[in-house]
């Protein structure tokens, strides 16, 4: 039996299921290593050399070096892990969330202050009418 993947219809969302878990294990374990201050210092000193210690794919390696936050999710990154790279850079969850959703830091912060992103129009892929309730 294969588990239902009905969440695949949610737009802009990368559920960390077995498919991503199989692809992203090494990438996320690299991120996990950044829980140690000594490793953070080594990573900052020479990112490329540090990454050599982990069996990342070329795409994963490039996404990390370019800080392509959305790209990391697409090659198996889990946000609770990839955020540790952002912490290393002195960024916050909100900084990264803004970058992933493709708006400026200010615009994202303003959206949150105004009550956040509405679920209306954002429940199913292909929805366009932001005001319409499809729930």
């Amino acid at each position: 039996m294969t588990a239902a993947r009905d969440y695949d219809s949610i737009p802009g969302t990368y559920v960390y299921d077995s498919r991503r878990g199989r692809e992203g294990y090494a990438l996320n374990m690299f991120c996990m290593s950044l829980n140690s201050a000594a490793n953070r210092a080594r990573f900052k000193q020479n990112e490329s050399a540090y990454l050599d210690g982990f069996p990342l794919s070329a795409d994963q390696r490039q996404a990390v070096l370019q800080r392509d936050w959305l790209g990391m999710l697409k090659v198996g990154g889990n946000i609770y892990y990839t955020i540790k790279i952002a912490f290393c850079d002195g960024l916050t969850f909100q900084d990264v969330a803004g970058m992933m959703s493709g708006v400026t830091k200010e615009a994202y912060a303003q959206m949150m202050l105004a009550g956040g992103r509405s679920p209306d129009g954002n429940r199913h892929k292909g929805e366009v009418d932001k005001g319409e309730d499809h729930g």
Binding site: A4, M29, K84, T92, M100, S101, G116
Partner: protein, 282 residues
């Protein structure tokens, strides 16, 4: 005999901990959130429980992807504060309650809940932020804590219905413990939020309000919410709300709401807090 006297549902947004640790709680951004926490702190200080069970999820702190326990109970005498990637939070070490924790582990497993047992683990913001929210910044936490971790990082988390049943088993186990302890149980995480992808920042006040209302009106129907519904309606990380059901399952069917606070935003998240009390024992 020990007894669960109350439940606390509480978001565990890391930025709330940062705001406290850096003395920013009085800023215009944070003030409305923290004002709403004050009555909960007063209530908890007055209740003065003997021990707390805190149901939370680890966020790649104690556990990596090497081993992913679905349900885990911490039985240690002490739990250090984790370095989550920016140094440990400057909060007191968390004291455990090994006697009750081991009793719970044995009782739950024999009651067919196959707990993983942790003798040593650090605890992260998932556990410490709810303590900070409800206890403030004391030099030592006012009661020992039993950490109970639920996996919500690797899909799928346990279902809401399973979490509720675990709560019921916790209640039976606590009631069978041979010391007159007054226990509170925290269910943490949520409410609506999405930290990842192009849809980051999703908030659903309607969903959250119905969820808060349902905690007393019809908690069993809330346990039927599917993971996909949580993720679609309350954001991918909103699925953390399954942990509230553990707390709810451990309380009386007729538990009453004594306090609620809901605020948007706390960073990317709708922060919710609810206190439920069991009825007076007859």
């Amino acid at each position: 005999m020990a007894e669960i006297v109350a439940g606390i549902a509480c978001s565990h947004v890391p930025a709330i901990g940062v705001a406290m640790d850096r003395g920013m709680t009085g800023t215009p951004y944070w003030d409305p959130l923290f004002k709403g926490y004050a009555p909960a702190r007063e209530w908890l200080a007055k209740l003065a429980p003997d021990v707390a069970i805190v149901v939370y999820n680890d966020h790649a702190s104690a556990f990596s992807l090497e081993i992913i326990p679905t349900f885990l109970i911490g039985v240690a005498a002490e739990f250090p504060i984790a370095d989550e990637g920016f140094g440990p939070r400057p909060v007191p070490v968390v004291r455990g309650h090994p006697a009750l924790a081991w009793h719970l582990a044995e009782s739950l497993i024999l009651d067919e809940f196959d707990m993983t047992i942790a003798n040593a683990m650090p605890v992260d913001h998932g556990l410490t932020v709810p303590l900070s929210i409800t206890c403030g910044q004391p030099p030592a936490w006012p009661f020992p804590v039993i950490p109970l971790c639920v996996n919500v990082v690797q899909y799928p988390p346990p279902t809401g219905a399973r979490c509720f049943k675990l709560g019921q088993a916790i209640r039976r186990a606590v009631a069978a413990f041979d010391e007159p302890l007054r226990v509170v149980i925290y269910g943490t995480g949520g409410m609506s939020h999405q930290l990842q992808g192009e849809r980051a920042g999703l908030i659903n006040r309607g969903f959250d309000t119905a969820f808060l209302d349902g905690m007393t009106r019809d908690p069993l129907s809330l346990t039927k919410i599917t993971h996909t519904e949580y993720m679609r309606e309350a954001g991918s990380e909103g699925v953390e709300m399954v942990m509230w059901h553990v707390m709810r399952g451990a309380l009386d069917e007729q538990a009453v709401e004594v306090y609620r606070h809901y605020h948007v935003p706390a960073s990317n998240t709708a922060a919710g807090l609810m206190i439920l009390e069991n009825g007076v024992a007859t």
